[in-house]
């Protein structure tokens, strides 16, 4: 069927082209599509989806390709690469009308030329705007501004049946598409809020335990004391509260420990036990790598980080990037934040010698329908608490089943504390019904079937496809 399709757009079927899409950032799920379409306009997407509905050919979308559970990987049908649709079409100072294949980096660059910045974006600036709006997008300033999807005011969407339409904040379809995991349409343009660009002073404070660091972060967030914050750890021994200020940094009332006391305690714990010297070397080496990255003179001016997002985005890859990227993110209530982190740490220790936690808070704007089946749990809290558990592989290799068992065990922690998770599609789909419950999942699947009768758009990523008739 794909060899001679009745389709007015070029299908790329050369091995070199198809193989470029054989995996995603996670590099665990593999699959080579039958063909690739490089979309350059919404009309291309519309023509493809009309044909796909008619011929019942699966279409899997890819923006930045930074999924980790194989959500943008396929073994069948067409892989639709949206990165060619990139560019800022207009900017009125308060918002920017952006093509959905634009990466956050490209958006940052276009806005900086106007002394503007986006409001909040994923730390990884290689994500596309459209892909991010489908899942969330968490920044260090999300405690104040919410996720990236909450910065969008209007979208152009190609429906699964190939109609080009627009939806604005408040529209039912807008709420479907935002945080919709790419199930209800292909976002082709988005109007994103913008603000004045301001450089940032970054400070970090060391803690001997994750609990006081998280509790201090929660207090900072509740008092709106800083412009950016997160907790990053190496195992559970090096715990850093990172805060960012766009104005002159103010003194903060925190329970951190001084560097001297911290290292003395670390030495006392490790030095008497020669078998643990290797672990000590790991902790010191990793910490030594992290600091210069945050103080790179190329990006500092008057002690403040210019282009903080660039610094963080590159840091992610140089520091955490590896041949396999395993991320298990939970989202829980404030009451369960510390307990979830502690329980997750115990899971990490069972599976891996080295790991890291990344803890952030995300502002929630009431009970928007988009939150119902998303990484933003349906709670009455004004903030959601995110904990990402990630192995630091240090050159080790494990069977993929080991990673899957690790992720499952972390997700079980999330379930135990009544939370949700950031990545519930692809390889983690078995958790969808356990997290959200049958009633919610069936209702959303019903929306999907109404919009996508042949079930061709990103099929099987979140919802079970209709049973195949004999």
């Amino acid at each position: 069927m794909l060899a001679n399709p009745d389709l007015p757009i070029p299908l790329r079927t050369e091995p070199a082209v198809r193989l470029a899409y054989r995996t995603d950032a996670g590099q665990i799920v593999e699959g080579v599509p039958d063909a690739v379409v490089h979309a350059s306009a919404p009309e291309t997407v519309a023509a493809l989806l009309q044909w796909a509905q008619r011929e019942r050919v699966p279409v899997t979308c890819r923006g930045g390709g930074l999924t980790t559970e194989g959500e943008s990987v396929t073994r069948r049908g067409v892989l639709l690469d949206l990165k060619g649709m990139n560019g800022v079409l207009e900017c009125d100072g308060g918002t920017a009308w952006v093509q959905a294949g634009t990466t956050w980096y490209q958006l940052a660059e276009a806005l900086r030329a106007r002394s503007l910045d986006y409001i909040s974006a994923p730390l990884n600036l290689l994500s596309s705007v459209g892909g991010t709006l489908g899942v969330g997008g968490i920044d260090l300033n999300s405690h104040r501004h919410g996720c990236s999807a909450d910065q969008c005011v209007e979208v152009e969407v190609v429906t699964p049946t190939g109609e080009i339409t627009r939806a604005r904040e408040g529209d039912d379809y807008f709420e479907r598409v935002m945080l919709g995991y790419g199930q209800f349409g292909v976002i082709t343009k988005a109007r994103m809020r913008a603000r004045r660009y301001r450089p940032m002073t970054v400070r970090n404070f060391l803690y001997a335990d994750v609990a006081p660091a998280i509790e201090d972060m929660m207090r900072l967030v509740e008092s709106d004391a800083v412009d950016a914050c997160c907790v990053i750890t190496l195992r559970d021994e090096v715990v850093a509260l990172v805060v960012g200020d766009e104005d002159v940094p103010k003194p903060l009332d925190l329970r951190y420990t001084t560097d001297a006391r911290f290292y003395a305690r670390l030495g006392a714990r490790y030095l008497p036990v020669p078998s643990r010297w290797r672990d000590l070397a790991f902790l010191l080496r990793r910490r030594k790598q992290l600091r210069p990255a945050l103080r790179n003179p190329l990006f500092l001016r008057d002690g403040r980080i210019e282009d903080r997002a660039i610094v963080f985005s590159r840091l992610i890859w140089s520091y955490w990037g590896d041949r396999k990227i395993v991320l298990a993110d939970l989202a829980v209530t404030k009451a369960n934040f510390v307990a979830t982190a502690k329980a997750g740490i115990e899971v990490c220790k069972r599976f891996l010698p080295y790991f890291t936690l990344y803890c952030v808070m995300v502002r929630k704007f009431g009970d928007r329908p988009r939150y119902e089946m998303s990484a933003i749990p349906a709670t009455k809290d004004d903030h959601v608490c995110g904990v990402e558990f990630s192995p630091l592989l240090e050159g080790r290799e494990y069977p993929d089943a080991h990673y899957q068992a690790f992720k499952n065990a972390i997700y079980d922690v999330g379930l135990r504390f009544g939370g949700t998770c950031y990545r519930f599609g692809g390889a983690m789909k078995p958790y969808v019904r356990r997290i959200f419950g049958d009633a919610v999942v069936d209702r959303h699947r019903g929306y999907k079937l109404a919009l996508d009768p042949a079930f061709v758009l990103n099929p099987g990523v979140v919802f079970d496809p209709p049973e195949t008739r004999a």
Partner: protein
């Protein structure tokens, strides 16, 4: 070739001219490395191999130190068969083919500047050094010592002081009035950003000019300073110039790269000057 070290992060795409032109990930270092990791040979990936302009952006930004330019050169040599060795002579001043053959009117100002800062300009190169053949994969590079090298393309074959970098070290000699866009040569900055970025940033701050240095502190290219750009094959230089100047309000363009001088002269619609034409009397 260390393509196995590529983790597929895609940072290389941020400033890749092939990606900017086509929007195709396949044509970037990430796409090439994915193809190589899957076991494809050079003959099965010619489009991917020839898309590269060798601007060096991917090498500079790679968090895993993948040598992408070296990989492309190795693949091109594989396509070519057995590359020959080039022959070229030592010189005080290496002008390069583009200046000698297409922009001879710039040579007097270059010679004056070079002599004023104390370098010799007596013996110049007379023949093609073979840098473009190195890029094609037809020739194995042979490093020859030189005094001052005027064209960043020739740095493939010569070891010497680059004219543009020397100019940045003598900023007092220049007069860059008005709204200026300074085009920084990508081959130079992207291959050693920690060495050269500060020079160009100092110039940017001193004269308030716009540049092609992006948020990563790396240089974006027109594609003209490549074998495809200079031969006019398969590179949309006009579109690249338009992208670079999309938000620019500069009244004139200044550069120290001869091929890019041609690109801006032909496609920007704005006056273009070579850096040595801006030396104060």
């Amino acid at each position: 070739m260390n393509h196995e070290a590529c983790i597929g992060c895609g940072l290389c795409m941020l400033g890749c001219p092939a990606f900017e032109e086509t929007g195709c990930e396949v044509l970037t270092a990430k796409g090439r490395n994915r193809a190589l990791q899957a076991g494809l040979r050079a003959a099965e990936m010619t489009e991917l191999i020839w898309a590269c302009t060798m601007c060096g952006y991917c090498d500079a930004i790679c968090p895993k130190d993948v040598q992408n330019v070296a990989i492309v050169l190795a693949l091109r040599r594989e396509l070519w068969g057995t590359p020959r060795r080039s022959r070229h002579e030592q010189a005080d001043l290496v002008l390069g083919c583009t200046l000698r053959e297409r922009l001879p009117e710039l040579i007097p100002s270059i010679r004056r500047f070079v002599q004023r800062i104390g370098y010799r300009a007596d013996v110049t190169d007379a023949d093609c050094c073979g840098s473009l053949d190195v890029e094609r994969g037809a020739v194995v590079p042979t490093r020859v010592r030189a005094g001052v090298v005027c064209d960043p393309i020739c740095l493939e074959q010569y070891d010497g002081e680059f004219l543009g970098a020397l100019a940045m070290r003598h900023l007092d000699m220049f007069d860059l009035k008005g709204r200026v866009y300074y085009f920084v040569p990508p081959r130079l900055v992207n291959r050693a950003p920690e060495r050269f970025y500060a020079l160009y940033d100092a110039m940017r701050r001193r004269f308030g000019c716009e540049t092609n240095l992006d948020l990563n502190r790396l240089a974006r290219c027109t594609g003209m300073s490549s074998v495809q750009g200079l031969s006019g094959e398969g590179r949309d230089v006009k579109a690249a110039v338009e992208r670079l100047l999309a938000t620019s309000r500069a009244e004139r363009i200044i550069t120290c790269s001869p091929a890019d001088y041609l690109a801006f002269r032909d496609y920007s619609g704005r006056p273009v000057l070579f850096i040595t034409e801006c030396v104060r009397d």
